[in-house]
Subunit: 340 residues, 3 copies
């Protein structure tokens, strides 16, 4: 595998088209932090399989088109070359390209906002990266989340953007699910578990989940293992707390914890017993935040996307290297002085 | 014109009252980024004309009073003298002073919160400026947006602050406007276009729109041109996407794109073909964000104010000079170490 | 009193258990900025008194358990030792420990999220501190607010987390309270005033309010005086604006202004006539923001917690030492250049 990868990398140095393909594949791979074109190929396969299986080929087209548009936009903006070649400007685009056709109905207006959104996702990536670098932290998938929220929420204001599967907007209300989880048998649990990794790409399909896990495995055993464990922890915690069975079995409590587990457990910290306990706390908290945000976005009739992962992972990465808060004492220099 | 301006500037050096007037007029001008007292005079005229035409003289009084209170607050806080003299502490105040009497009914409680809000707008301007300067970016009109949201949202909690024109709070729901835009004739389109610049000041009046454009023209042909084009782009995109005709014809899809077009096209970047394409992308995206935020604030029963402009312009300004995101790799120094 | 405190401090140097107790008591005291174990003891007494008086002993247990868990988590993460010993990692935990059992019904799931939340509150404290230190500002109680929002909002998604007293979610609607405030007699006003300081700890009990004020007095006369004045200002402004009498008499308009008054008036700025006027403006604005946020969180069916205090105090602290905004002029270096 790694021989083939070396050969491929050598080839991309000579062939501009291969190099462009490589950048885009790495962009897909970076959705779960992997700078690896083969991983990206598996991830795209997971999207395409899910799109075909559900009869929504526009999702597969949207993903590829948005990935390319986001990457080309980055080239036009003369971004950092190393970051570009690692696929750092593709992963938000590909997710925008999946989200828009999944939630909104096919049509000219849908493709128009998909193209605008894919280009804008690169601008937002630059903006969020600039802010987060202040604290040595990554943008994560927040550019995708923010851009997609703006795109799909507009469907409630624009008559030519009919909604396919989203909403309706509703006030949150208490759920009575006591005892319902006993209804799940082992097969259902297994399929729900596989759908966690698949839903990172908004795909509700267990085969896609296998493709995602295999795609991780060809790049990093730690990443694949932590993704699998993260999905299992999410399944256990969400069932124990009595989450909606429909949401749990569709993998909708799994995708953010998968990302948190991989990100905290082996990407931004090197795996160790201490780090794994820390990542476990973050993964469990991500399940709680997923439940909270499901209620939080309900009055707007939009999905959370990967925001629970983003917020929790930021909170768990930011403390690094600065463990001293501002004391509860005087600010330096008193109230506004006369300017000199 | 520029001779008269020079004479006026010379006069303000000798006369303290003229100087104070000059600062306040520049404050009004800075609503659309113009450090020019004549522009400010036109903008105030636009507000006053609109207020009189709709029989709401309290809006004109509120604008002037809040402008002065915000400026005086800045003086009392010993802010940077150059920024003060450029009117940087007036533009949020004047907008607060228009927003409160437009949305809430006249009365002692309304004037109380208007005065508090005008003073606070200067504090918020300082706070937001401090944060945004970390990334060499301006506060834009976010101090106005944030302060006014806090002021008018409170009307739902305080019985002595009756609402004049705002809300009611409602969940967003899909709109069916297909085909309705064909109903607009050329005159209606022309008036809707003029109301875009007017609604920057929350004024629903085409004559005020002319005054705003002329006010820009006396200061900068680029600014006037980009405002006109921005309003036209917003009209075209919002109609093409099937936005509410009532909102479009009132200029409510135009004011934020006007500000984005001017800000990105000629204020914060120097106009060039490359910059204009970038500004166009930002202007189109502002229309999408306006639609999204209209749905987003609906459950709270408040307007978006200029938040779509602020968020998009920040996203399009922040990338400057730092085009390298944090990689998806290890943080420096591992997990929390023992403090030394 | 100060002799006893010195003796205690000396004892904590020799006895590890006493030292741990001291850290936790200071953690409770830091809820209102006091690095003082006796103050913390009074604050815990206020919580316990209120819990027993309302027959909810789980609130008292939750407060103590969460305080200890948050402190121990800080120790395990090797945080800055001085900050730890000042109780900077306890105050958010103790508030999480009060909030969860107050709003959610007793049960295994409630205790599970309380423990997770208490540990996470320390991580969030580190994260928020890191961000706010960029501008030399403190985290305030935002870690408590954010963590608790995530915990209790999830109750709408998790069937095993029944709600005890929160919500229901509702759209904001205009209030008609004109004239109702005349119904309050002097005793009712007095009790409402005392409940302001008590509600800092989510306790609806006037005796607890006395304990809080006395706890402040043993540490700082300024803090006690400003808390008392802040509660009185909040009472006057909220009644004058026609706020809900039920909310006013429960102290729900008082707790955030109390914190703002103490924080701005004597903790982060040294008291002076100039500072006190500034703190008064902040305190009055906090009442307006409390009203706004009550409406703002209504569609989610959650409380504001101390967010009004946090947002206003940040806005009033941030301007310090940087009173020059970015001008409305060109960004440095034009649009994205070719990277070198």
């Amino acid at each position: 595998m790694s021989d083939a990868l070396s050969a491929w990398t050598g080839f991309t140095q000579k062939n501009a088209l291969a190099r462009f393909l490589d950048i885009n594949l790495r962009g897909a791979g970076q959705v779960i932090f992997q700078n690896n074109p083969l991983t990206g190929l598996f991830f795209l396969a997971a999207i395409i399989w899910g799109a075909i299986a559900s009869g929504q080929i526009d999702i597969a087209i949207g993903a590829v088109v948005a990935l390319v548009v986001a990457t080309v936009t980055a080239m036009l903006l003369n971004v950092d070359q190393t970051s570009l070649e690692q696929g750092m400007f593709g992963f938000n685009g590909v997710l925008v390209g999946v989200a828009v056709p999944t939630l909104l109905a096919d049509g000219a207006a849908m493709w128009f906002i998909l193209l605008v959104g894919a280009a804008v996702s690169t601008v937002v990536m630059l903006a969020v990266s600039k802010i987060m670098k202040t604290w040595e932290a990554p943008a994560l998938t927040f550019p995708f989340v923010l851009t997609s929220w703006f795109l799909v929420l507009g469907a409630y204001s624009f008559g030519h953007l009919p909604i396919a599967s989203m909403g309706p907007a509703a006030l949150p209300h208490a759920l009575d699910t006591a005892g319902a989880e006993s209804a799940l048998n082992v097969t259902e649990l297994f399929l729900a578990w596989l759908k966690g990794p698949a839903q990172v790409f908004l795909i509700n399909n267990p085969v896609s989940g296998v493709l995602v896990l295999v795609g991780l495995l060809v790049s990093s055993a730690w990443a694949a293992g932590l993704a699998a464990v993260g999905a299992a922890v999410a399944l256990a915690v969400s069932l124990a707390l009595g989450a909606s069975l429909a949401a749990v079995t569709a993998g909708l409590y799994g995708f953010s914890p998968v990302l948190t587990a991989v990100g905290l457990g082996c990407v931004f910290y090197a795996p160790s017993p201490r780090v794994l306990v820390f990542a476990l706390l973050g993964t469990v908290f991500t399940v709680l935040v997923q439940g909270a945000m499901n209620a939080g976005v309900a009055p707007l009739g939009i999905p959370t996307f990967t925001a629970p992962f983003v917020f929790v992972t930021w909170l768990f990465l930011l403390p690094k290297a600065d463990l001293k808060p501002h004391p509860h004492g005087l600010m330096q220099g008193g109230l506004f002085k006369k300017s000199p």
